[in-house]
Amino acid sequence: MIEIIETQETAAVPVTVKRESKPLKKILLICSKGTLEDVYAALVMTNGALMEGIEAKMFFTFFGLQAITKRGADNLHTATVGNPAFMPNMPTVVAGLPGFEAFASYMMKKEMDKLDIPPVTEFVQMIDAAGGEIYACKLAAEMFHLKKEDFLPEVKDIITVGDMYALADGDGSQIIFV
């Protein structure tokens, strides 16, 4: 696909500058956070890319690792304290009461279910079935004492930062950081 983007009229002879538009071919999504909304943002964008025929890979690091552990995946929470966009009129003291965060997270999951947004483990399975690849960060895994068997079966490997960059090779690749 070639589109004409501008015609320079200042030159003696008008010159047409052509630029090839390059479609996005591959994305690498880095998920560094373990809150419900951040993990879902990463999962939705990855799945959305696959739905468009874009190759997609995911790399989970730091607290994001929690989202791909067998124990943590379906138990993610949204932060009710230190999150000004969450119920703006809610006093921090109330939002910090025991059980409040669990309740808020439960309500959010219920709303998401209405929109046909799957739980994290099912979302990971969907991405895997669609050909997406999921990796865990080696350094963070060591920090949190997590081993291969602690992760969901769809997690392909535990890799280094260098290996991660290799995932994003080739023309038309982009890295998205969450």
Binding site: M51, E52, I117, P118, M126, A129, A130, G131
Partner: protein, 102 residues
Amino acid sequence: METIVNVPVLATNEEGYLKNYKDWTEQWAIDVAAGNGIQLTDKHFQVIRWLRQKQDEGVALTIRKVGHSGIVDIKQFYQLFPGGPLKLSSKIAGIPKPVSCI
């Protein structure tokens, strides 16, 4: 992308989706699929019929719903309609372009 459609010529929008899904014929599906490099099998038609049935019922479709249809799982769905499975299968099934993000 150009889609070559044999007779009868049906009204489509600029993206190639049927304007009226009731106009749909099997031949139209076969032609559109062929234009996208897909040769339709019985399995394809099962999915297409299921999609059309959901359209009749007014259900907004998602990949997840197709995966739970009992006809194909998500992996098979991607294999049957490579590239953008939900969009491509919707186009072939003559139903409007899906608007879901899931």
